[in-house]
């Protein structure tokens, strides 16, 4: 069956080229994995990152200062102001979540305290009254 399927498959002139390409990519991939796993690569990428951060720092600072002044002149909140507000919002959210937790706990307690059906709920005060009557009488009798 497989042979038949292969025979019916049209000839693809690119197939051998693809095979060669994949073999080359495999070899390349293996050598690259070995390369990135060396101390030299770690050292080189670390140095590149460090250089970038050092060189770009003065530009970033200048842009930040200019932006801060512009925002001040436009009477707009700065990045630090917005961050501070966001932090306060999160704190408020946490307090709300605490209250939600307490409310859930209270609801749970309420449900536990009233585990009766509606007919039971109607009958319950009557039963309680009946139970209470002899005690009252007994107390009265004692007096």
């Amino acid at each position: 069956m497989a042979d038949q399927a292969n025979n019916n498959k049209p000839f693809d002139p690119m197939e051998p080229w693809r095979g060669m390409r994949d073999a080359y990519l495999d070899t390349w991939a293996k050598s690259m994995v070995e390369m990135v796993n060396t101390e030299a690569y770690a050292q080189a990428t670390g140095a590149m990152l460090d250089t970038y951060l050092t060189v770009s720092a003065p530009f970033r600072e200048a842009v930040e200062k200019a932006m801060l002044k512009t925002l001040e002149q436009l009477a707009m909140p700065s990045r630090a102001d917005v961050i501070s507000l966001a932090e306060r919002m999160t704190n408020i959210e946490m307090r709300l979540d605490d209250m939600d937790a307490k409310l859930d706990a209270l609801l749970k307690l309420t449900v536990r305290a009233t585990p009766m059906t509606s007919t039971e709920a109607v009958a319950a005060p009557r039963k309680a009254a009946k139970k209470a009557t002899p005690r009252k009488q007994a107390k009265k009798g004692k007096r």
């Binding site: 690259m32 770690a42 050292q43 990428t45 990152l49």
Partner: protein, 357 residues
């Protein structure tokens, strides 16, 4: 007479292929399609409950909470219809919840593992318990999510956790020679103070570069070659499109958490040594008593197996299993073989441990 379109065919074919390529490279696939509702939110974090498809009496009573990594979107767990772990688990009768950490902003640069495990997770779990009505639950942590769930499980062993599933969990950092990341973030080469001083949070693009640079040819060349070779196959194109949508949707990692990941874990292996301190409390993995399933991807270049094996000897769980599956870090859960190997195994393991006690 020969038919006229014979000569035109290669051109039409090439035009179609280029059109498909352009679409796939410039648009986002429809992902995360399983119906869900938002039941809790705090700061950027959100807790979703997936709409059950089975009636309550046919569902497992113990809910399942999915916790993914901090620096990627969690919809990899619900990539696309027919290829979604979430969809599969919901169909198997689980009450599934997903904790989405969201993308931290500059105001979140000080968030640490402490906050995620002792502020966010307990609150989300409380809400899940309230909604599901179950005091017991199962946790599934993947990648950094597995670090968070392990820390939580060790610090809160009496919180009702019955089952813990760790997927490709980077917990053991003792084998420095076997970890390329450990070499890159060595203190001799990587100045974490300078990086976080500049960016606040670790930029998603830098994390993405780091993950891709582990296998540069596969990620930057072969991946696109595979797409080019299969542009005529809609199934391959659809899968590639969905995965590419996820891979290119990067999330920054909160500065505080990134510092802990590098300094406490990659450089000093404090979790395995029992020296990791969270809010003044040492994380002792032996306090984990929940039933434990650890899943290791045999072809994982991000979290090699040596990082996930030793947790098995550290925990106190009596019921524990180490499951090895062929595939990569993401492929074992989102690859074409996931629905045949990893998902059924997780389902079979969890089903017998999710009945009412």
């Amino acid at each position: 007479m020969a038919e006229a379109p014979v000569l035109a065919d290669p051109f039409t074919q090439t035009a179609d292929r280029l059109k498909t390529l352009s679409k796939v490279m410039s648009t986002k696939a429809a992902i995360a399609q399983t119906p869900k509702e938002l039941i809790w939110a705090l700061n950027k974090a959100k807790l979703y409950r997936y709409t059950p498809v089975l009636p309550a009496e046919k569902r497992h009573p113990v809910p399942l909470l999915l916790v993914f990594a901090l620096m990627n979107r969690p919809y990899i767990l619900d990539l696309r219809p027919g290829h979604s772990f979430v969809e599969y688990m919901v169909a198997q009768g689980y009450d599934v919840y997903l904790l989405d950490w969201g993308a931290p902003g500059p105001e979140d640069k000080n968030l640490k593992f402490d906050d995620y495990t002792l502020e966010y997770m307990p609150r989300a779990i409380r809400k899940m318990k309230a909604v599901s009505g179950s005091e017991e639950f199962s946790l599934l942590g993947w990648c950094i999510g597995a670090i968070l769930t392990s820390i939580y499980s060790a610090l809160r062993p009496d919180d009702g956790l019955r089952n813990l599933i760790l997927l490709t969990a980077p917990l053991d950092f003792s084998n420095k020679q076997g970890l390329t990341f450990a070499r890159w973030v060595d203190e001799r080469y990587f100045d974490i103070d300078k990086v976080l001083g500049t960016f606040g949070n670790m930029p998603g693009e830098m994390i993405d570069y780091g993950a891709k640079a582990l296998k540069p040819v596969e990620n930057y060349v072969s991946n696109y070659m595979k797409l080019w070779d299969n542009l005529d196959d809609p199934r391959v194109v659809e899968a590639w499109h969905a995965m590419n949508t996820w891979v290119t949707d990067n999330v920054p990692l909160a500065g505080g958490a990134f510092r802990q990941l590098i300094v406490d874990l990659y450089r000093n292996d404090r979790l395995m040594k029992g020296e990791l301190v969270i809010r003044g409390q040492k994380v002792n993995l032996s306090r984990i008593r929940a039933n434990l399933l650890t899943v290791i991807a045999e072809g994982d270049h991000i979290t090699p197996s040596c990082q996930s094996e030793s947790v098995m000897t550290k925990v106190s769980s009596e019921d524990k299993e180490l499951f090895r599956v062929s595939g990569g870090h993401i492929g074992i859960m989102a690859g074409s073989g996931a629905s045949k190997r990893t998902w059924p195994h997780i389902n079979n393991w969890l089903a017998v441990r999710s009945s009412r006690s």
